[in-house]
Amino acid sequence: MTLLASLITPSFGLLVWMLIGFGILVFILAKFAWPVITKSIAQREAYIENQLAEAEKVKNELANLSKKHDEMMAQTKAERDKILGDARKISEKMYEDAKIKANNEATALIEDAKKAINFEKMKAIIDVKNEIANLSIDIAEKLIRKELSDKDKQNQLVEDWMKGINQN
């Protein structure tokens, strides 16, 4: 029974020392150790969190950049294709235009030539006609001269002409 009693009886000296000692321990640690430790841990946690967030941000940015890069590449390619296409179209058009113009010119030339030819032809025909007229007049003159050499034949002719006029 005394054994148990000695176990569960608080002792004055230890109580005093415990109060003082534990008090000092709490004071020292609460003043010099715990604030530094907890603050550092919190600081490091915040730092790590920040770093992770930053890494995530950088990753996203990188992804964005690469996306942008791809987009730009695609755009440039499209532009290049467009420019090339345009150039081809322009050249084609120029070619077509040139062709059309050449055609037109050729046609115009041909027309002109035709016109000139026609003109010349007409001129020639008129000349020939005039010549023929002159010739026929000459022939007629000669014929008439020959015919009119006798009087009968002159009368006959006047009569014929008169017939022709009357009929008209």
């Binding site: 005394t2 054994l3 000695s6 176990l7 569960i8 009886t9 608080p10 002792s11 004055f12 000296g13 230890l14 109580l15 005093v16 020392w17 415990m18 109060l19 000692g21 534990f22 000092i24 321990l25 709490v26 020292i28 640690l29 609460a30 010099f32 150790a33 715990w34 604030p35 530094v36 430790i37 907890t38 603050k39 550092s40 841990i41 600081q43 490091r44 730092y47």
Partner: protein
């Protein structure tokens, strides 16, 4: 290969321990003249003492003498506990208590012995006792262990704090990396869930100190040689002081809501409160039983652990006293159980530190808890 090596090392270690504890080795001198008393042996290890007994070799007690400090008759008396010679001698009229009532304390002798220094012979001429020294603030074994643990804790955490100061963003190293997960565990799993994110910082230093104080002293109690081996956290005074501090912190920081819940508990039928205030009474007693249970739990767990471990060791001596052969036969079993219990105690050391801190945090949390919104609405 490595595994095999470890196994052999373990085997040799066990043999060595067995040899150390074998009855022939250590009990040679004692067994012949005095019977081995396991009760006394165990009590000697778990109770406080004025000197720190290390071992007995060839009938010589090897003891670290510790200072005796008495406040007696209006002035301080300081002398070495070695002067008592294990209770064989008196010094300036002071002697170790020798009757059943005064066992374990220092008495002032009366009559002719009032200023006596020298041998005491209790059988032939029992000296009269004037009074028991009530105000005894001697550096006893437990006080010594307390001081050692305080110095150890200060050294550990100040050096760790210095490391944090040097590079708060560096990865923890050495002791720091061992302690940091524990500190984080206390913060994230014990203190914040119990008290709450917004209020925990005020109580965190105390709870951390509490946890590490209990842990370090539990562990030191498991070390069988000199600076360890004192049963500090298994001492009711120590656990009482810790529980009282928690009690005061809880009740000083308690808010209106807490007291209202105690004297007018919500959700309890009115006839339990009036005319006989049964529930309020139970709740009010609970204010005191909570720290009381804290005190008893730690004290009982640690003391019981020590008693069991020492009991297993005592088996060797008990059987060895019957016959050395039986002692040898029993010692492997005892050592096995001793190691098993030692490992269990290691676990208990952590668990009890954790439980004490957790419950303290929960009590503080209960006292500072703000009323819930639903309750406000009601």
């Amino acid at each position: 290969m490595n595994y095999k090596k470890t196994r052999y090392t373990l085997l040799y270690l066990m043999l060595g321990i067995m040899l150390l504890f074998s009855p022939k080795f250590s009990l040679n001198a004692q067994a012949e003249e005095e019977e081995f008393d396991p009760g006394e042996y165990i009590m000697e290890h778990i109770t406080d003492d004025y000197g720190w007994h290390i071992t007995t070799y060839n009938e010589h007690h090897i003891t670290v003498p510790l200072p005796v400090i008495l406040f007696d008759g209006g002035n301080f008396v300081v002398f070495s506990s070695g002067k008592f010679h294990q209770g064989q001698q008196a010094y300036k009229g002071y002697a170790l208590g020798f009757t059943e009532d005064t066992d374990g304390s220092i008495v002032k002798l009366g009559g002719n012995y009032a200023d006596y220094t020298g041998e005491l012979n209790y059988e032939e001429a029992c000296p009269p006792i004037d009074h028991v020294c009530k105000y005894d603030v001697s550096i006893t074994k437990n006080v010594c262990a307390l001081l050692v643990s305080i110095i150890l804790l200060c050294w550990i955490f100040l050096s760790v704090a210095k490391k944090y100061k040097e590079g708060p963003l560096k990865a923890p190293k050495g002791l720091q990396s061992f302690l940091e997960p524990i500190i984080l565990f206390i913060r994230d799993e014990v203190v914040i869930p119990s008290i709450g994110e917004d209020k925990y910082q005020k109580y965190f230093p105390y709870l951390l100190t509490l946890f590490f104080f209990i842990l370090v002293n539990n562990l030191m109690g498991l070390i069988p040689i000199f600076p360890g081996g004192a049963n500090l956290t298994g001492n009711i005074t120590v656990t009482a002081v810790l529980a009282i501090i928690t009690f005061f912190i809880t009740n000083i920081s308690a808010n209106k809501h807490y007291w209202k819940d105690i004297f007018n508990s919500p959700g309890v039928p009115w006839w339990l409160k009036f005319p006989i205030p049964l529930m309020p009474l139970v709740e009010f007693i609970g204010v005191f039983t909570k720290p009381f249970v804290l005190m008893i739990r730690l004290f009982a767990n640690i003391t019981a652990g020590h008693i069991i471990v020492l009991g297993f060791l005592s088996l060797i001596f008990i059987f060895g006293a019957m016959s050395p052969a039986i002692g040898y036969a029993v010692s492997p079993v005892s050592v096995f159980f001793y190691i098993f219990m030692g490992l269990l105690e290691l676990l208990v050391a952590f668990i009890q530190a954790y439980v004490f801190t957790l419950l303290s945090a929960i009590y503080i949390g209960m006292a500072t808890e703000e009323p819930h919104h639903e309750e406000l609405a009601n």
